[in-house]
Amino acid sequence: MNELVLAIELAFWQQTLIKVLVAAVLVPTTALIFGIVFLFKVMSWMQSRMGPQEAGPRGLLQLLADGAKFLQKEDIIPDKADRFVFKAAPVVVLASTFLIYVILPAGPDLIISDLPTGIFFAMAVSSLSVIGVLMAGWSSSNKYALMGGLRAGGQLIAYELPLILAVVGVVIQAGSLSMQDIVLAQANGSMLGFSGVGLPFLITQILGFGIFMVAIQAELTQPPFDMPVAESEVVGGFHVEYTGFRFLFFFLAEFATAFAFAAIAATLFLGGWYVPGIDPDSMLANVVGPIALFVKIMVVAFLIFWFRFTYPRFREDQLQRFAWKYLIPLALVNITITGALVVAL
């Protein structure tokens, strides 16, 4: 089946080139989609506003206009800043975002690289961004940036644990770390003998899903976990000294990472690109898969941003207490129960 499209065998470098180009286009596009749909539109509606209206039809091009505006801004580097680290930080953050996209499956063949340790890889590279954030905070030679960077460090370390522990439950059930295998495990699963819609792990791992959603909210430093960038406390945190294109990098990374995490949540808990009724090995799955995945991502993202627009910010100690005293024990209980049930059944 797959030979149909790939009848023309491509050399490795050609495949790589195509993949790099797709990723290079995909990442900013996803950030744009999330920025426009959620940051501009859904947020406005939830605040009883209409959002941007002037740029393009219904203001849909506003973010492009803003991007063009950022490009025109002066590139300012503080006098006392560590210039090399200061310049490298946004690239590190964006690189971590790009790396997550490597293992996101959009169809049986539509994946940049189906690593055998896919989800582990995703968790590992996503925590690279904290290094970029710390670099930005440290090199800016600004006390607010430093505070923001250190807050981000403490927060991301605290929430990395529940994030990974929540994933472990899914991995135990699927019996694999590979993203494709996790999708197939859900597609081939059955609910109490009824196998019509497979078995989205949302049903068995509802606790894990909850923990995962809270943890990615914190990983993305979005409200109510936005202490690292809290305007009213540390005036923007680690990116306070960044202007123009470098700030755009942080912005892009934030929303592209939101997309990537929503995609991981959709893959782990909602069945990824699998649509009930379509054979996961057929050619059709390659066509319908990306659309199905996109719809599921938008559903998950709506949840993420809904929480973002509803809740006020936590206090720093509340945040740490919540992670260490509630989320991590809960995730451990979840792993124990899942493991026991998988062995028993």
Binding site: S44, W45, M46, S48, R49, M50, W306, F307, T310, Y311
Partner: protein, 168 residues
């Protein structure tokens, strides 16, 4: 009725607001300003209008103005007598009356203090300018605002004082 946790209630509020905003019968709480105008309250303080004929150049408004943004220049002249055969009256002829709206803070003290009903509030608010110097409204422009001054509301029944009238 079981108690709904506040966190869930909060989610309900934002979701309901979103649905309300998107419903054709609902709509946003905001006004899409350049396309549709906001209807200011009838007594809104937009801009100050001058009824030139009533001004006696008494300078009260100018002196009471906290920002000193009212400029008045006048000279003395003789007006024809009120009755035939009477003596010509000495009056102040207004040469210049200007309000610098780049300084004005819209406190309304000048309107309150005017003893001759020469200054009035108008609800008009669209008089922004590209150049800040153009915010200095001379008496001709201030007189034009008089057309936009709404009538005073009548006093409530049983009031001893007569209702005020806007001179046209």
């Amino acid at each position: 009725m079981p108690k709904v946790p506040g966190m869930v209630k909060g989610l309900g509020v934002t979701f309901r607001t979103m649905v309300e905003t998107l419903k054709p019968s609902g709509g946003p709480a905001t006004v899409q300003y350049p396309h549709e105008k906001e209807e200011p309250a009838a007594r809104a303080r937009g801009v100050i209008a001058l009824h030139e004929e009533n001004c006696t150049s008494c300078m009260l408004c100018s002196r009471e103005c906290p920002d000193w943004c009212i400029y008045i220049e006048a000279h003395k002249t003789l007006a024809p007598p009120r009755r035939a055969g009477g003596k010509p009256r000495q009056v102040n002829k207004l040469d210049r009356f200007a309000i610098d709206y780049s300084l004005c803070m819209y406190c309304g003290i000048c309107v309150e203090v005017c003893p001759f009903d020469a200054l009035f509030w108008s609800p008009e608010y669209e008089f922004s300018e590209v150049s800040i110097a153009d915010l200095l409204h001379e008496k001709q422009r201030l007189g034009e605002w008089m057309d936009t001054v709404p009538e005073f509301e009548p006093y409530e029944a049983g009031s001893e004082a007569k209702g005020r009238k806007v001179p046209r």
